[in-house]
């Protein structure tokens, strides 16, 4: 697994906003790999920097420092035409399907836009490809192809966004909260569609969301972010069943299961995340962590591998503390 070259290699990515006097560190040194055909889920609460991470990968916001390599090409130093070229290899789907499509354009034209822009296919071939893409996402091009974006519901708009993002056959799709504006019955349709298309097109996904259950459903691996840093990353099932970082444990405990007999897992996390303009010293979670010690305030825990493939940034990972108590 580890000797494969990753499709996307992110190292020490940081994004700061604001002037020198009042800096807000939205992303503070994030590193991860995404392999071909793999789905990495990125979860965290609002303000943890998960969306900024996604946007920095697309260079919609400029990274302050760090390295982003897509198929071996460094993205952060690329500009102009070369960058636009690289962007066809990775595409992004946004949260609000309705505002991310121009309401005055037809479904067909929205999907064709990237093709026309790159002039990759023309004429009948182009029209056939557009029809094929619309069919793939479950929108009948004969009936709905000429309707305007404003005539579609949220779920249908999200289908069009997916078709449009697939037009240039990207290798990586960044999905930023793509189902959180949808109703549950529609959400399930879109998630199933995404998983099917991922398999068909051999896509890798970075799936950014706040809903833990949704992330688990699509992801092979999951990374948990808190205040601009990854605090735990590992295989989806392992991370959910055996969380190592106290924050992951609390986050899972707060997730509500649609089951009247679901045990309320653990205590409710007190307090709120501190401001990213003045993050705490040492471990960023220590101000809310019930297990924090002096060491946590002075020494920042590195993201260390405790089991192959499972990394955690904590001085006192839960399994080790349990062993020590036993």
């Amino acid at each position: 697994m580890s000797d494969r070259t990753p499709l996307l290699r992110v190292r020490n990515l940081t994004v700061n906003f604001g002037s020198h006097r009042k800096q807000l560190s939205a992303v503070a040194g994030v590193s991860f790999d995404i392999f071909e055909g793999e789905t990495l889920g990125l979860v965290g609460e609002s303000g943890c920097g998960k969306s900024t991470t996604g946007k920095a990968l697309m260079r919609i916001v400029e990274p302050t420092s760090g390295s982003i390599e897509l198929e071996g090409t460094e993205l952060t130093t690329t500009h102009g035409k070369a960058l636009r070229n690289l962007r066809t290899r990775m595409q992004m789907i946004f949260q609000d399907p309705i505002s991310s499509l121009n309401p005055r354009r037809r479904a067909r034209d929205l999907v064709a836009e990237p093709l026309d822009c790159w002039k990759s296919v023309r004429g009948a071939e182009r029209d056939a490809l557009v029809n094929d893409l619309l069919n793939k996402v479950g929108i009948d091009p004969e009936i709905y192809g000429d309707r305007y974006a404003r005539q579609f519901s949220g779920g249908q708009c999200q289908r069009i966004s997916i078709a449009r993002s697939l037009a240039m056959r990207p290798k990586l799709l960044i999905c930023d909260e793509m189902v959180s504006a949808l109703d549950v019955s529609v959400q399930a349709q879109i998630l199933n569609l995404l998983v099917d298309l991922k398999r068909e097109y051999g896509l890798a996904l970075l799936f950014i969301a706040h809903d833990l259950a949704v992330v688990k459903y699509v992801s092979d691996r999951v990374a948990v972010m808190y205040l601009g840093k990854i605090c735990e990353i590992g295989p989806a099932d392992t991370l959910y069943d055996f969380p190592e970082h106290p924050y992951t444990e609390f986050l899972l405990g707060a997730a509500l299961e649609a089951d009247p007999d679901a045990p309320l897992r653990g205590d409710v996390l007190a307090g709120e995340p501190p401001s990213p303009t003045s993050p705490p010293s040492g471990c960023r979670f220590r101000t809310r962590c019930p297990f924090a010690t002096d060491k946590c305030a002075t020494e920042e825990p590195p993201l260390e591998e405790i089991v192959p493939g499972h990394r955690v940034a904590c001085h006192y990972p839960l399994s080790l503390s349990a062993e020590a108590n036993a």
Binding site: D183, S185, A188, N192, A213, A254, E257, D259, P260
Partner: protein, 333 residues
């Protein structure tokens, strides 16, 4: 049961909006009762009428282009048809409401403490000093740290979770018997959501209130309510005790809704059972059951005749379906 008069009795309530494209029946004949010290969940997808229902119960509908019929008896007070002046005698004192967006339900240019003691002074006739003391008490009750200092801050200085706590404090100021909470935690993060739901539970017990929790999230109602109403296209399709609705539901829509939710306890990559199609257009409702076009069990009768709410075996449990799921099949495994 009979010697305790019901706190809230809703009978055949209909709210119809007049739109340029014709009448839109947002709530189409809803009846239910609510006792004291009870938590009732109202769930449904967007457009199911749950928010309009809760606003109609409050008597908060636009002045024009809306027709409300039926009856809402709140501690004997008929809300339907009452004038705004009459309704003001129950707003805040008998029934209060919390809205989804804590950013817009507070006055942005008024200190939070003033927003609470305004209610105490105007509605309960307290003097300035007593009102301030009570406001600080309420801020403490809803878990605002150092309430005396926070009394003077503006809403913009607080986070979303803290603002929702202030909104709850303003709702509690008149000691209402009934608290209507419309999506109270929808914009909040999960850890904050858990805090707010716990807070609602504890204030409900302390103040001996009943709570109506309106939400699209079945996870929120599963462990926090005693009874649930499931709404679809403006009508109740299933009602019963929370356990009964989750475990022994009879209406295929309830089942489909539960199946469509990804669950944290399921292994990753387990497939979701999606509901085909989308919620119906309320301007053009099918003559039969509104769910029939999406339902896997629909037969001819479902398409021509609307099913009525029929009682199930357990008292209080009712469902509207011509082809109900058998009890054993409806149970979650």
């Amino acid at each position: 049961m009979t010697d305790h008069p019901k706190l809230l009795v809703v009978k055949d309530l209909r709210t119809t909006f007049a739109t340029p494209s014709g009448p839109l029946p947002a709530v189409g004949g809803v009846s239910f009762e609510l006792g004291t010290n009870e938590t009732l969940g109202i769930v449904g997808e967007s457009g199911s009428g749950k928010t309009v229902l809760s606003r109609t119960i409050m008597g908060l509908q636009p002045r024009r282009n809306v027709e409300v019929t039926g009856s809402v008896l709140l501690k004997g007070f008929e809300v339907v048809g009452a004038s705004e002046k009459e309704k003001r005698s129950i707003w805040g004192l008998e029934v209060a409401m919390i809205f989804q967006d804590p950013m817009t339900s507070l006055n942005p240019v008024m200190r939070i403490g003033k927003q609470i003691d305004e209610i105490l002074r105007v509605r309960q006739g307290m003097d300035r000093r007593a009102a301030k003391a009570r406001a600080v008490e309420l801020l403490e009750l809803v878990g605002i740290p150092s309430p005396a200092e926070r009394y003077g801050v503006f809403p913009r200085e607080l986070s979303g979770g803290m603002r929702q706590r202030v909104v709850i404090a303003t709702a509690l100021a008149g000691s209402p018997q009934l608290l209507m909470a419309d999506e109270p935690t929808t914009g909040l993060d999960v850890t904050i959501q858990a805090q707010i739901l716990n807070l609602l539970d504890s204030v409900k017990e302390q103040m001996k209130m009943s709570v109506v929790l309106v939400t699209h999230d079945l996870g929120v109602v599963a462990t926090r309510t005693s009874r649930i109403i499931v709404m679809y296209a403006g009508r109740i399709v299933e009602i019963g005790s929370t356990r009964e609705v989750f475990r022994r539901h009879r209406m295929p829509y309830t089942r489909a809704l539960l199946d469509a939710i990804p669950k944290v306890s399921n292994p990753s990559h387990s497939r979701l059972v999606a509901i085909p199609g989308r919620p119906p257009n309320l301007l053009d409702l099918p003559t039969g059951c509104a769910f029939a076009p999406r339902c896997a069990y629909a037969t001819d009768i479902c398409r021509v005749q609307r099913p009525r709410l029929e009682p199930a075996e357990e008292s209080g449990h009712a469902f509207a379906c011509w082809n109900p799921l058998p009890v054993a099949e409806g149970a979650l495994t």
